[in-house]
Amino acid sequence: MNVEKHIDELNLLLELLSNKPQIRESVNQDVFMQLIADHRVISQVAPHIEKLDSNALRERINASHKHNKITQLGLLKALTEIHHCFDGIPFIPLKGPLLSLQLYNDPAERTSRDIDILIDAADIDTAIDRLRALGYECLTHYQSPKQKQAIIRYFHHLEFFHPQHKTLVELHWRMVPFASVDFSFKSTMEHAHLVALGSDSFAVLNKVTQLHYLSVHGCFHQFFRLQWLMDIRALLDHFSEQELEEALQQFPETRRFVLVALGLCAEELNYSFSTTVNSLIRDDKRVKSFVKRCQKDIRSNYSDGRYTIIEGRLEKMLRNHRIHYFGGGMRGLFRNLVARNVRPANWKFFAFPDAVFFLNHLFSRLIWIISKLKS
C-alpha cells in the first residue's frame, strides 16, 4: 500500500495529536478512520473533534471512542479475573488498563488488544497452570524440557487465548526482547507502585521504569503505531525537566531508546525539551538515524484492515535485524539470528529429540518444510 496517497489524512491525524489550532480538512473519512484504528489513537483524537467541520466524521469518532471504551472494560474484567486467580504469584501488568489509568486517570482510555503480564521466570509453570484453570489455551506449544528451555531463553513471552471471551494474554518473563536489556523482575517489583482499581490493588511500573520500558518497546517496533508515542508524550507530563534528565541516567543501557522516543516526540508532536535533553538527542548519530527510521514506519502504517507496513521479505528481514542491532549491537544481532531458527510452531509437527536438540537450530529450515507438508 502506498501511503503517500494518504499523506493528507496522516498529516491531519498528526495535527490533531499535536494539538495544533489550525486544522485542515478535506480528507477521505474512511482512510482517516482506518488510520486512527491502525495507530490506535481514537482516545487521543476524540477530545479534538470540535476542530473538525464534518458532523459525520465527528459522529464516527464518537461512536468508535465509545466502542473502544467498552472493549477496554472487557479486557479489564479479564485482567481482574487473572489477578484473583494469580493469588500468590507476584505480577505486574504491562501497558493495558493500568497504564491507561496511570497516564489518563481512566482505565479504559487507551486502546489495547491484549493483556500483558510480567512475572518472575521462576513462576512460569505455576502461572501457566493458573491461566489454563481459567480456560486459557497456550498458543505456543512445547513438548519437552529442552523445547521449553529454548523458548524461555530466546523469547520473552508466551501467548494464551480464551476461546469463549476471545481474550489474548501475553505472559512475559522478560519485559523486552533485547538481549542487552534486562530489567530484573525482583528490582522492578521492589520499585513498583500499588494502584487501586475497583476493589483490587495492582503493582505497576514507577514512572521512570515505565518511561524506559515504553521507549524500548516502541523502539522494538520502530514506533510504527502512534499510540506508543502518545503514551510517552502523556507520561512526560508527569516529569519535571530535572526529573527527566535524572531519569535518563537511571538505566544507562536503555538511555538511547528513551532518546529516540524523546526525539520522535519533538519531531512529530512538537514536544519541547530542555537544552540538555535536546543536546543529548542531537549529539547521538545512532539515535538520530533511528528516529528517521521510525518516522518512515509511522508514515507506512496503513492497513486496509491488516498491516502492510513492510512491502518485501528482504526489507522485512533487514528491518528486523536493524532493530536488533540498534537494541543490542553485534551481540543482539547474532542472538536474533539464532532466535530466528527457534520455531516452536514447527516443533509440533517435527522436532529432533532433546538429546540432539541443537539439530533443531541447525535444520530449522528442514523442519519448517516438514511442518508445511504435514499441515
Binding site: H65, K69, I70, L73, G74, K77, P107, A108, G198
Partner: protein, 88 residues
C-alpha cells in the same frame, strides 16, 4: 435516613458526559446518560436520596417531587443490579 454508596467492584470510564461501566464480579456492562452519570459520581461517597436530589436540583431544572421519584426509581434499579449498597 438510608444512605447509598457504589460498590467497589465497578469500574467506570467517562465518555463526554456519559459513563460506561463494568461490574467485574458479575460481568455486567452498563451505560449511563448524563443525569445517571451525575448520580453515579455522587455515589462515590454515601448519599441519601434527599442529598442526591439537592445536588441534582442545583444542576438541572427539575422540581423536588419529580426529582425524588426519579432518583428513588434509579436507586432501586441500581440496587436490583447489585452495583450499590446501603451504608449506616
Amino acid at each position: 435516613m438510608t444512605k447509598y454508596i457504589r460498590k467497589s467492584d465497578n469500574i467506570a470510564s467517562k465518555i463526554q458526559d456519559e459513563i460506561v461501566m463494568v461490574n467485574v464480579t458479575l460481568g455486567n456492562y452498563f451505560s449511563m446518560n448524563a443525569v445517571a452519570s451525575s448520580i453515579w459520581e455522587l455515589l462515590e461517597k454515601p448519599q441519601s436520596i434527599d442529598a442526591l436530589c439537592s445536588a441534582l436540583m442545583e444542576e438541572y431544572a427539575i422540581d423536588l417531587e419529580t426529582c425524588q421519584r426519579e432518583v428513588h426509581d434509579f436507586i432501586a434499579k441500581l440496587t436490583e443490579l447489585n452495583v450499590i449498597e446501603t451504608v449506616d
